[in-house]
């Protein structure tokens, strides 16, 4: 069980890891907990596990780095391979793949910190604002758990939102804001991927599904399965599977999308290592599917593999 690590989502990862690990023990597996640090390779070499269950979130664990190490050590691991992780982690890259696969994703422009410092990209903000309209979502290119995301409601909010996002990553994207319902579709499987029921997150107070709303019990209501008519639920599953294969995912992933008032689905991102905390969406989808958490963990483990 690889968990913790040094990413900004360390605490979330420890909670995911604790839940997945308890499930693995209930399932009768011999679990070695590893809080990932500079001794990782040495520990894995010494222990030679049959498989690595990855419950890491964010940089290092979800971006293909740990996956690459496991490839070298020839330890099969859960979730997507190196390249799929890299594609999913970078929202700019992921969106390009979604678009190429014919999946709708809100229009966005991305800039590095250097573009603002050295090329005067700040002066292009009014043009971006004009093209994408307000509100504008400003987010770090590579970050999970909604860290560093701001919904800029007015023109004057954009620069501060950019500074917030740039504190979390050197690259940011400004994305058209799509108002609507927050839907998440978890996908399982490798050769024949299939979608779990759609889960809807309904934050009670905040204007979007932010960090506090994600991890504080009671701040968000969940509908699992989401109340959608069959056609829309099937469409959400179809879109999620399209994203899954567009990025080359295997094992498990979660696709987050917004359904606008016209019933159109807009994919925001794919999470290569979906959260498994008490308030996370994948466990709720598992319950809704009638599988239960342990069964899902078992299936994720059974799909552990090598190969990018």
């Amino acid at each position: 069980m690889l968990k913790g690590g040094r990413s900004l989502e360390r605490e979330v990862s420890l909670r995911s890891g604790a839940n997945a690990e308890a499930a693995l023990r209930r399932l009768g597996h011999d679990v070695l907990e590893v809080d990932v640090d500079q001794h990782l390779v040495r520990v894995l070499r010494a222990e030679r596990p049959d498989a690595a269950f990855i419950a890491l979130h964010g940089k290092g664990g979800e971006d293909g780095t740990v996956q690459e190490l496991l490839e070298i050590l020839e330890i099969p691991y859960t979730g997507p391979g190196v390249l799929a992780c890299e594609r999913a982690m970078d929202k700019v890259v992921a969106k390009a793949h979604f678009a190429a696969a014919g999946v709708s994703t809100p229009a966005a422009y991305a800039f590095s910190q250097d573009a603002f410092r050295e090329l005067g990209a700040g002066e292009a903000i009014p043009d971006i604002r004009e093209r994408l309209g307000l509100p504008l979502v400003v987010k770090p290119a590579k970050q999970g758990s909604a860290l560093g995301i701001t919904v800029a409601r007015e023109a004057g909010d954009v620069p501060a939102a950019l500074m917030n996002a740039l504190a979390y990553d050197d690259r940011v994207l400004m994305e058209r804001f799509v108002a609507g319902r927050e839907l998440a579709v978890s996908v399982l499987g490798t050769s024949e991927p299939w979608a779990l029921p759609v889960v809807e997150a309904i934050p009670r107070d905040s204007d979007f599904y932010d960090f506090e709303a994600r991890y504080t019990p009671g701040l968000t209501d969940f509908e699992a399965p989401a109340r959608l008519d069959d056609g829309l639920a099937q469409e959400a599953a179809r879109v999620a599977l399209a994203c899954y294969s567009a990025l080359g995912c295997r094992g498990v992933s979660r696709v987050d999308m917004i359904m606008d008032p016209d019933g159109r689905l807009w994919v925001l991102e794919t999470n290569a290592i979906p959260g498994m905390t008490d308030t996370s969406l994948l466990p709720k989808a598992a319950e809704a599917a009638g599988l239960g958490f342990d069964e899902v963990v078992e299936r994720i483990l059974a799909d552990a593999a090598l190969g990018a």
């Binding site: 209930r26 099969p76 860290l147 009671g218 905390t277 090598l306």
Partner: protein, 462 residues
Amino acid sequence: MVPEHPTATAARRAPTLPVTTTVRPPGAPTSSRTPPPRPRHHETALTPGDSARYDARFASRAAGIVSSVMRDLMSLSERPDIISLAGGFPSTESFEREVFDDVIEAVARDHLAAALQYGPTEGLAELRERIVEVMAHEGARARVEDIMVTSGGQQAIDLSIRTFVNPGDTVLAEGPTYPGAVPCFTTYEAAVEHVPMDDDGLRVDLVEASLDRLAAEGRPPKLLYTIPNFHNPGGVTMSLERRERLVRIAHERELLIVEDNPYGQIRFDGDPLPSLWELDDGAGWVIYLSTFSKILAPGVRVGWVAAPAAVLRKMNLGKQAADLASSTLSQRLVVEYLRRYDWRDYVARLNGIYRSRRDAMLRALEEEMPPEAAWTRPQGGLFVWATLPDYLDTTNLLASAVDKHEVAFVPGRGAFLDGRGGNAMRLNFSGVPEPVISEGVRRLGIAVAEMTDLHRALGGLE
């Protein structure tokens, strides 16, 4: 990396996993297999779905406690590669081993059975006598019957709020206020009104203005919580004029003051000022809290309250509910220490260490921080409070500071209950050696400069 042999890219299935019951306890060395402890059912019984059963049952005072980005980021400051200026730790490494041995020996030799036994809720009589002496050294006169021993200064704060505050009651506190008091305020569902500080401490003139406004709104405050000496996190000290005026206000307008004084003896510069307790002169409008955490050691968890008898009786009930009595063993240890040694010598030594560390921090701040930053110059205590330009958010700054620059601090927002403090931070100097302080502040300066440069690159923003 692209695999060299295309065949290697084919996903290989994991081998069938062996089903065993071997379980490694958390924290066990990874190099050797340990025999399996007996599986405990409850450890692995709950799934995320099961855990949801509690959500509807949590009390409203527990519901107020949220997950926060700040808390998760703060936990990263414990990483060994990070220089943490986020702690609030006194220095404990200079406490002499011989002194400790001697005190422990005395406790074991002369008081073992009593030290292992329950004690009175209000604390050991001998300790309360010693506390009166410690207070007298600061010029605060009290009688033994005014004193109740608590489990650290934190329990003294908890009991003060618990005893007086109903859900929704208004409480006045400095802005920023002690971050450790914030959970007490939220647990008892206090509505906190912050009163600003300046270099002379609490703006007492604004206390009067707040009293007027709150009276007009029909929600006069139950009490004012204040740290007059070397404020945590503010780093400032209330001037004598303001102390006198504040006590006058308390008397005229019947305002109850909770004076938290954990740092009064931790003074490196200037002359001690009278406590509010002393200025109140027995009128009963001041409740005084302090602790042995800074003058002896936080590990003993011994603090105290000085209050009028009617208040102590209620607090005694609260303490019975909380923990019946503070550790008798700890109290006895403190008594035997105070009987055998002059605690003021140890404090003088600590203050020497802290003075050099504070100087190192102020020097480093001067050298490393951009001109837009400002900070307090404490005459004592453990903390500096730094204020950055309004456009900087220190919670977000902490993300880049931890992730890229390997330095941590406490974001200012944790010291406010109304969302303010976003551009401020608390820096601790007491728990970090001087060279580490210099390096930590250097890294911090780089992290801040990166953001101020970026702000300029974005054309300045209002």
